[in-house]
């Protein structure tokens, strides 16, 4: 048996979620003795980053005949490595839309059981079992895979990425594969990078500050707090529908699902739609002038108060503290 990790990368750089996957794989390897195989589809692998996070081998697979960034191409590449290894019992992918789509196609090809949005994984009674919170944070479950291969899509920040003190001696293995017909059928007409803000990406951010109806159109207090915390800015559906901020900032079941280490909600009521997209946050702080707001039922720390006073004071206090 062995463990495989799909290493996701953008512009040649390993994404932070993949470092978390590698860290978890190494933790699982230390308790089970299984080797860890990192899989990189495409050119120019960041081998030193993968080695720093402890993979025993890095498999670099080139997919020929289709755009290498397409989900189906990534699946073609991954399947090639899994077939070559023949003994992978756990594949870790990030629980992003892209990661989940890879998991879905691979599950159909291999008969693997898939668990998405997992907060942890363990080997129990010979089955890989993943923990996950469901129904807008109201239930905790453990899902086990009956298949010889389990695919687990891990939520961002379920583990904290930690490089080794001394990098592993990672073996490099190269593969090539012809893209499947379904991958070859898709052509990329254009691909432009989205405008990047200087703030971290919402889905992957460790800290997220969210503004809701209560900000009444003014996100400046939210943005200033986000900047002092090094946080991403999010919003509720009301705030994006009102046009106070772009739709890409929407956190909720129909927007971005987040699982940051710290969530700060300003003027957020905590309606079930929104809760479903953020209930996996590890620490939830809420500021709202309505004591009956549902968010106070699940916040770790609630301030019933005026956000136009609390936010600037909090920002100033944190800034002073950081000197």
């Amino acid at each position: 048996m062995s463990i495989a990790v799909l290493v996701d990368h953008t512009d040649g750089h390993v994404r932070s979620t993949s470092l978390e996957l590698l860290t978890l794989a190494r933790q699982l390897a230390s308790t089970t003795g299984l080797p860890v195989h990192a899989v990189w589809t495409g050119a120019d692998p960041q081998a030193e980053v993968v080695a720093a996070h402890g993979a025993d081998a890095l498999h670099v697979v080139r997919v020929e005949g289709a755009d290498e960034h397409l989900t189906t191409s990534v699946v073609d590449g991954l399947q090639t490595v899994l077939t070559a290894l023949g003994d992978v019992s756990l594949l870790l992918v990030a629980s992003t839309f892209e990661g989940k789509e890879v998991a879905a196609r691979l599950a159909v090809r291999t008969g693997a059981g898939v668990v998405t949005g997992a907060s942890g994984v363990e080997l129990a009674d010979g089955h890989w079992t993943a923990r996950k919170t469901v129904l807008a944070g109201t239930w905790d479950t453990a899902c086990a895979a009956a298949s010889s291969l389990a695919v687990v899509a891990l939520a961002p920040h379920a583990v904290q990425a930690a490089p080794l003190a001394v990098p592993a001696e990672t073996r490099l293995v190269e593969h090539a594969v012809q893209a499947s017909a379904a991958a070859r059928a898709v052509s990329v007409v254009s691909r432009e990078p989205r405008p990047r803000s200087e703030r971290p990406a919402l889905a992957e951010a460790e800290v997220v500050v969210v503004g809701g109806r209560g900000v009444e159109g003014d996100f400046s207090g939210v943005e200033e707090l986000a900047d002092v915390l090094g946080a991403a800015v999010g919003a509720t559906r009301v705030a994006t529908d009102e046009g106070w901020i772009g739709h890409e900032a929407q956190v909720g079941q129909t927007g971005v699902t987040i699982s940051p280490r710290l969530y700060v909600g300003a003027g957020v009521s905590g309606a079930v739609h929104h809760k479903g997209g953020m209930a996996a946050a590890q620490t939830i702080v809420a500021i709202n002038n309505d004591p009956d707001a549902p968010i106070f039922e699940f916040a770790d720390y609630g301030v019933v108060g005026d956000l136009t006073e609390v936010l600037p004071a909090l920002t100033a206090a944190l800034r002073a503290r950081r000197g």
């Binding site: 879905a104 159909v108 998405t116 950081r322």
Partner: protein, 271 residues
């Protein structure tokens, strides 16, 4: 043009949703409803078909928008809603052996139903929502594409079909892409671009007269062992309602509450 829209009947988000002893979602409550994100998928399907002539008195011939669902008897309500919004036909795959199907097993059944429709009259597009608001796995569209062997064009916010080529615009977490593939293709749509129309009285009345086909697994030639609990590669080993928290902090006040909050954030390592 022929469009198939996959829809799901789910417990209402506002209702008290729960898991049963088997770890499966409790379904069949009075509040169960058409998954909101599937309304966006249907809207996208209707608009794309309309652009090709669907629904026009003079040019509607040959165009069809079918809503398709897999689920127990009450799931027919999701199809009724889809028909009221303007779909022309509906297919309900219902079979006792389906109970406990996970997302991948469900995709296999949907694929068998799409294949049967495709054999009757070629399908150009299969459209699904970006997620179902119960399981939130987002696995079905890609799995469906894989089973069918069709290209996937997911998370679309614009769709165009010209001369048998399907073109979509999509935003990934890093890029804005325009992708194209020959029909038939499997699409999913975001909730941003296709704000669903509301069924009017005429639509609701007309929906009662529109046909709903009910297919069993035998009708689809699907082996019951490949679906339901037997055909699903995952099972829920434990399920527990989260206990009430006892360590919550609630304070009242404005700027004067900030020092305590800063201390709290500091203890947690954020300040």
């Amino acid at each position: 043009m022929r469009v198939v829209v996959c829809v799901k009947h789910v417990p209402d988000l506002q209702s008290a949703r729960s898991l049963g002893e088997d770890g499966r979602l409790v379904r069949g409550g009075d509040d169960d409803t058409l998954n909101e994100l599937d309304e966006d998928a249907l809207e996208a399907g209707l608009r794309t078909a309309e652009a090709a002539g669907f629904g026009k008195d003079d040019g509607g011939e040959g165009h069809d928008v079918t809503v398709l669902t897999v689920g127990p008897a009450p799931a027919v309500e999701a199809l009724r809603r889809g028909l009221a919004m303007g779909a022309s036909t509906a297919v309900h795959v219902s079979d006792e052996a389906l109970a406990g199907s996970d997302a991948i097993a469900t995709a296999r059944v949907l694929a068998a139903a799409v294949a049967k429709l495709h054999a009757e009259q070629p399908v150009d597009l299969v459209v699904a929502g970006m997620a179902a608001l119960d399981g939130l796995t987002s696995l079905v569209p890609a799995a469906l594409a894989e089973v069918l062997g069709w290209p996937q064009l997911t998370l679309a916010d614009r769709i165009e079909v010209t001369d048998g080529l399907v073109t979509v615009r999509r935003e990934t977490s890093t890029d804005v892409e325009v992708l194209t593939a020959p029909a038939p293709a499997v699409l999913s749509v975001t909730d941003q671009a296709f704000r669903a129309r509301f069924p009017n009285f005429k639509g609701i009345v007309a929906a009662r007269k529109k046909p709903v086909a009910t297919w069993s697994l035998a009708d689809l030639g699907v082996d019951p062992a490949t679906v339901g609990s037997a055909g699903s590669a995952t099972w829920v080993a434990q399920a527990a309602e989260r206990p009430e928290r006892s360590d919550r902090v609630l304070v009242t006040g404005d700027a004067e509450t900030v020092p305590a909050l800063v201390d709290y954030l500091s203890e947690k390592g954020f300040a």
